[in-house]
């Protein structure tokens, strides 16, 4: 068994990024993700990499855009209010088909909100966040180990599909310490013949941009990008299925909420309630099919979230509203307890599919 070290989630992301081959990081301080910047400010200068504390989140994401255009792995990280500021830059990354990793260690909002964990940027991450027709691949780790392994996966997906990938974590995952194996291989590399490296007078100039003033041409670019998104939906959807085989009730939860919910599922099972869980690991693409497949077997779905109920809409769409979907949630930086989730399961069990 590989050696394990005790690390904070934020540090695990940072170290995994280095192991994956990322040598360029740009950020701006914001709680609760600052350990990523602090860690990389120590490590990057020692391995010939770039750590740059930018003047703003806006500048940071545009520095990311610059590095991404050279075809090299690059990342930034922030927390909710800072991610809003990066929204424009993320849209440009998507519009110029550039690979990059953006980490959002979420905190409660809206506005300046708080500094405690939240999942209330689900809409922002999965539906766009910036302007225009685009998606990011959104990865939702639920342990420190997964934060490390999904960091490598994020660079691979970004490079493979030439698009921004977001890791959507939260303040709990970022701050908590768990044993983690850093037996991590460098991320797979992909073609970068499109990148800006200087023509060396050997080829026509490469242009990286997102401007297209002829509507039919811009439409075509959108069509092509969405064809790519269909391939991603087909091939890259990730989820964990837990005790769903005989389940009559299905929890849907991601990230830290899934950790809490898993305890509740186990407690409910001890009481003889047939409950299982689907944990989306990719929030975009959302695991629609396994949820739809379950919709004939279970009588109630329960969406457990650290928000006022955002993912619940995707659950309802995935099952085409065939069964009731209950919301079990806390917001503003609060976390539902296993008892809260168990109470929701018991209520669902009692109602048997009637809301």
């Amino acid at each position: 068994m590989a050696k394990k070290v005790l690390m904070k989630g934020n540090e695990a992301i940072a170290e995994a990024a280095i192991l994956a081959g990322c040598r360029h990081y740009f950020g701006y301080p914001i709680t609760p993700q600052t350990e990523i910047a602090a860690y990389l400010s120590k490590r990057m200068p020692k391995i010939g990499g770039t750590f740059l504390q930018a003047e703003s989140e806006i500048a940071a994401i545009n520095m990311v855009y610059g590095v991404a255009a050279t075809g090299k792995p690059v990342m930034t990280s922030s927390s909710s209010p800072g991610i809003s500021l990066k929204g424009e830059g993320i849209s440009y990354l998507a519009g110029a088909d550039l690979p990059a990793l953006i980490v959002n260690v979420q905190r409660g909002g809206p506005g300046l909100g708080g500094i405690q964990p939240s999942q209330s940027d689900y809409f922002q991450a999965t539906k766009g966040g910036g302007h225009g027709d685009y998606h990011m691949i959104v990865l939702a780790p639920s342990s420190v180990q997964e934060m490390a392994s999904l960091t490598v996966k994020a660079f691979e997906l970004a490079g493979k599909y030439r698009m921004p990938v977001m890791m959507l974590a939260d303040g709990t995952l970022g701050q908590m310490m768990e044993p983690v194996s850093l037996d991590i291989k460098e991320a797979e590399k992909f073609d970068t013949s499109w990148a800006l490296t200087g023509t060396q007078m050997k080829r026509k100039h490469n242009i990286v941009n997102s401007l297209s003033l002829i509507p039919e041409e811009l439409e075509q670019l959108n069509f092509e990008r969405f064809k790519k998104y269909e391939i991603i939906k087909e091939n890259e959807t990730m989820y964990e299925e837990y005790l769903t085989e005989d389940a009559e009730i299905c929890i849907v939860a991601f990230g830290i909420a899934a950790r809490v919910a898993k305890n509740a599922v186990n407690s409910a099972r001890e009481k003889g309630i047939k409950v299982g869980m689907i944990r989306p690991i990719t929030l975009w693409p959302f695991p629609k099919k396994p949820l739809y497949d379950l919709s004939d077997k279970v009588h109630t779905f329960i969406s457990v979230e650290l928000s006022m109920g955002q993912m619940i809409e995707d659950v309802e769409l995935a099952i085409r509203c065939k069964k009731p979907v209950m919301l079990c949630n806390r917001a503003g930086g609060c976390i539902p307890s296993p008892e809260d989730v168990l109470a929701a399961i018991e209520k669902a069990n009692k109602n048997g599919g009637a809301l």
Binding site: E55, A59, N62, V64, Y65, G66, A69, A96, L196, T199
Partner: protein, 253 residues
């Protein structure tokens, strides 16, 4: 004997600029410098949002188009990733001195080893002639129809004067392209700004006073004269900072 030809680092296609606009001259000067220094193959240019947004089509080197005002941040990313490349941005006054002020100031403060060509024509051209951060007091634009009133719209931003107070930047010079003598001086300044980068000296910004006959509502000729009569008195030409030269002077003393 060839006495005049198009620079090789300009793509041979028609430009979209208005008749009488001096962007064409400035593009040409940048391209001539790239040719003379033999750096086309390793140069990466950053186009702004504004009139020069499609500069990526005109320069034959690798090009990228940045979000409005963010060209110095984008250039920073490229240069940090590929220090062997020569990286320049080409930006207007709204891009550089309004929405992108933070990126301008901080890339200068970091003495980022990049070259910025800053085209100051005292107006937003691409969007049809609105007041710019560099529009002169009293200047009539679409959004200052009674003339720029400094009591409500504030004063113009003098970029070179402001940046020279920073310890960071290597080289700051303001030039104009409204007559042959000034165009020659402008080319010399631009060449120095690229040479500085080749010599790893750091941040160089050349502010080029430029005309916008279309949005100033003037003939091209009158617009060039207006640079002399109105712009240069407010924005004096000259070298605002040359750290290497200043250091050398100190050593000699």
């Amino acid at each position: 004997m060839i006495v005049f030809e198009k620079p090789k680092s300009l793509v041979d296609i028609p430009m979209h600029y208005c008749p009488g606009c001096t962007h064409g001259i400035i593009h040409r000067l940048v391209a001539e410098v790239i040719d003379e220094l033999g750096i086309e193959g390793k140069t990466i240019g950053v186009a702004p949002v504004g009139c020069a947004v499609m500069a990526y089509n005109y320069f034959a080197c690798d090009m990228i188009e940045a979000a409005h005002g963010r060209a110095p941040a984008v250039a920073t990313g490229i240069k940090r990733a590929n220090p062997e490349n020569i990286v320049f941005s080409y930006q207007g006054d709204g891009d550089l001195a309004s929405i992108g002020m933070a990126e301008t100031v901080h890339s200068a403060a970091r003495n980022e080893n990049i070259t910025i060509i800053f085209v100051n024509n005292a107006i937003y051209g691409m969007t049809g002639g609105q007041m710019a951060p560099t529009s002169l007091p009293g200047q009539v634009t679409q959004t200052s129809p009674y003339g720029r009133d400094v009591k409500t719209a504030g004063f113009p931003v003098k970029v070179c004067e402001m940046l020279k107070e920073l310890d960071g930047p290597e080289y700051l010079e303001r030039v104009a392209v409204n007559n042959v003598v000034n165009v020659k001086k402008a080319k010399k300044a631009i060449k120095k700004a690229f040479t500085n980068q080749l010599e790893n000296k750091g941040f160089s910004l050349i502010e080029v006073l430029s005309s916008c006959p279309t949005n100033w509502g003037m003939t091209p000729d009158d617009a060039l004269k207006w640079i002399d009569t109105n712009m240069i008195p407010y924005y004096p030409l000259g070298v605002y900072k040359d750290r290497s030269a200043q250091n050398k002077e100190k050593e000699e003393l």
